[in-house]
Symmetry: C2
Subunit: 150 residues, 2 copies
Amino acid sequence: MGTSSAPGVRIRDLAPEDLDRGLLDSLDALRPASGADPGAVRRAYGEIRANPNHVVAVAIHDSRVVGTAALLVERKFIHGGGLAGHIEDVAVSAGHQGARIGTMLVEYLLDVARRRGCYRTTLDCEEGLVGFYTRMGFERRGVHMRVDHR
Amino acid sequence: MGTSSAPGVRIRDLAPEDLDRGLLDSLDALRPASGADPGAVRRAYGEIRANPNHVVAVAIHDSRVVGTAALLVERKFIHGGGLAGHIEDVAVSAGHQGARIGTMLVEYLLDVARRRGCYRTTLDCEEGLVGFYTRMGFERRGVHMRVDHR
């Protein structure tokens, strides 16, 4: 791990200027996001930034955001009051897929989780991505289920 | 939903006194927890309580904790800066399984998520519990994967 790279791409924590440099466009690969109300997005940014248990990584290429992924750190009662990491919303811009940027983003967040002392990190994915995450060291552990609220 | 109940069992938010009333014993059903260092458990409680995005529910019977489940609320950039709920660590004490306490706990947290404005709530489970959660309105959405940190 940690040896993947895409030429000219750098991974770092989200910074305020990224909101205007393509963050939402990169999320469009996951779910339409770029049409969101700018005020709501700034409020979301403020709340995420104020939460020390929420880390958002971005992939930067030519000063633009071309990918993003998030890590939630959860304090548990189990595991002796240990920490668990949750990776969410891994997205790479349409024009940059296949360039190992997704791998770089996930490896970056796994490193954050490890340095913070998490005993494990989990994520949920479509069946078609199981091989991708297996190559990064993940193992299939169960079923992801969802209920929508109306 | 919301109509399940077990006689004499009440669901409420975790309170400080629950740490000495069987919280860790109820988590033993999930993973050995009751042998944990009491100081670490109190520190975990302090941190969880201070986090407004982390809700722990307990099932109380005869003044004892007989079950627990947690909800993490995550602010997203997608969904217009919306909120997503994550249910974690649903556990019912060995002597109380089959009494609908798990259903009560999950319904309680779904209600919290709904009232907070979450657009969806997810959880991960073993294949054998898919039917249980389907009856509560959850749908299978993907694969849960995990990596352990050493």
